[in-house]
Symmetry: C2
Subunit: 298 residues, 2 copies
């Protein structure tokens, strides 16, 4: 199968590498509106050749969009207008707005809305790596709106990437990712800003930072180009989740200021239950790919 990858950054580049090396794709065509990225991607063999968007669409069987979510919303309807029998998939972090943009398109069934839950804080073609998706979870949204054939091909693609598929309503997806992905990025950005502001007065402050700080703030390296559009498109959910996070921080602040030892112990003991979740996740990722699960509208 010939696969066109639109957007040759961390996600698109990593996917291209594994689909080719693992035999899912016979050829990878790359498209990137940044000529430097396109050049680099070809040079480091992420893709077999670079083409313009129009040629890439007509010369491939599967078109993968791996670009920021605002760019996705902008070009997906045009791409859908240009396809014949090709299948189109996007890998963006928000789904409702994008799906809404082509709900009534005559070729809607040839599009699959997906989101592989993998990444690093780095970006660009040089950040691409093999095995990025191994053992992680791939979301496929609203599969009933895509053809069975299209969903099967995409599920095969994710299995090639050693991912387990989770089928989910786009509304549930956008709500849940606000909690487990978008919030942790904002918490890291805000942590970074809080300490960087203090650095202006206390210039040696980072001398004292250890591995725990590094781990908590790591996601603050992530780019505005990718994240501003995600927060915008998911603002309803992100706003609500941020308010809950702020309220919880306020509870900590109140307990500390009131010397409420029991309250503070309870909050921390409850938070420790995250061990159960992280240990289970580790097992899942190390173990065999679980059966796919279906999560529908709550």
């Amino acid at each position: 199968m010939i696969v066109s990858v639109i957007g040759l950054g961390l996600i698109g580049g990593s996917l291209a590498l594994d689909l080719k090396q693992r035999g899912f794709a016979s050829k990878i065509i790359g498209v990137d509106n940044n000529p430097m990225n396109a050049h680099t991607a070809k040079k480091i063999n992420l893709v077999d050749e670079i083409q313009d968007l129009k040629s890439a669409i007509s010369n491939s069987h599967l078109i993968v969009l791996a670009i920021p979510v605002d760019a996705c919303v902008q070009i997906l309807p045009d791409i859908m207008d240009q396809i014949n029998h090709q299948i189109v998939i996007d890998l963006g972090s928000t789904k409702e707005q994008l799906i809404a943009s082509i709900t009534n398109h005559s070729k809607r069934k040839q599009y699959v809305a997906a989101h592989p839950m993998a990444g690093t804080e780095f970006s660009g073609p040089q950040a691409a790596q093999t095995g990025l998706f191994d053992g992680k979870c791939a979301i496929i949204c609203n599969p009933e709106d895509s053809s069975k054939e299209a969903v099967n091909i995409i599920a095969d693609m994710f299995h090639t990437l050693k991912m387990r598929c989770v089928y989910m309503d786009s509304e549930v997806h956008d709500r849940q990712t606000a909690y487990v992905s978008h919030l942790s990025h904002i918490s890291a950005f805000a942590l970074s800003l809080t300490v960087l502001h203090k650095e202006k007065a206390d210039k040696h402050i980072f001398e004292l930072a250890s591995g725990g700080f590094d781990s908590t703030v790591r996601l603050a390296k992530s780019s505005a180009e990718m994240w501003t559009p995600i927060f915008q498109q998911n603002k309803k959910n992100v706003g609500k989740v941020l308010q809950k996070y702020i309220d919880t921080l306020q509870q900590f602040k109140d307990s500390i200021e009131k010397d409420d030892v029991d309250g503070l112990n309870n909050l921390i003991n409850e938070a420790n239950d995250i061990s159960r979740v992280l240990d289970q996740k580790e097992k899942n990722e190390q173990g065999t790919v679980k059966e796919s699960v279906k999560i529908r509208r709550a």
Copy 2:
């Protein structure tokens, strides 16, 4: 030199291992008021022998306190009463209150207030590991209140642990650790609680969490036994820092809800400057131990 380590958890156990293996200590005496911990520490060879506190004090040259900061404040004055020529050091995460507890003690000069900036989210003797401190920073507070001999011995000890020493006023220490250590723990605890609460309604929510979430929330495994007393002893600074963090999160929320794209881009671009700090830290930790630096009252 015979070293007594009081508290055989992650920090005390790891220190004991390296001081013995690297020849700084000829013998390690362990003390722990939890008999299970004491038994385990002896069994896995963290220490040469277990003694009670009184014997350990009289049988050693150096006494290291590696217990929660509330326990430190409780027993340090008693220990100071019992020493002859021994040197006493504590490794706690807060310093002002502890130092105040023995300011006027006749043997004050035999005590050194220190804080090695290293750790993991795990606790107990089984969590001890060699090399935990390598390349990290060790704070020594108010060195002018300790004898030159005591400070030199402690600096040697930290060099044996391959740490670089930073000399600092206790007031500056407590303010700066509120930013680079205490805040990141609270941000992780609150992130954990926010998502765990949501899990009650959306039981599959953690299916979607990827490595970024894990990294940001990792510190939420840390124990209340250790952290509640730290937040209490440093409540003045922690309260201020938490307010700044909440204000920054509120800025994000406002920018998102008002569709202020430029504002959001500016916040994220500014937060990205953390790359400079993290990359520099990585270099320091990989490179040779830098010269010790002095940071005094701002």
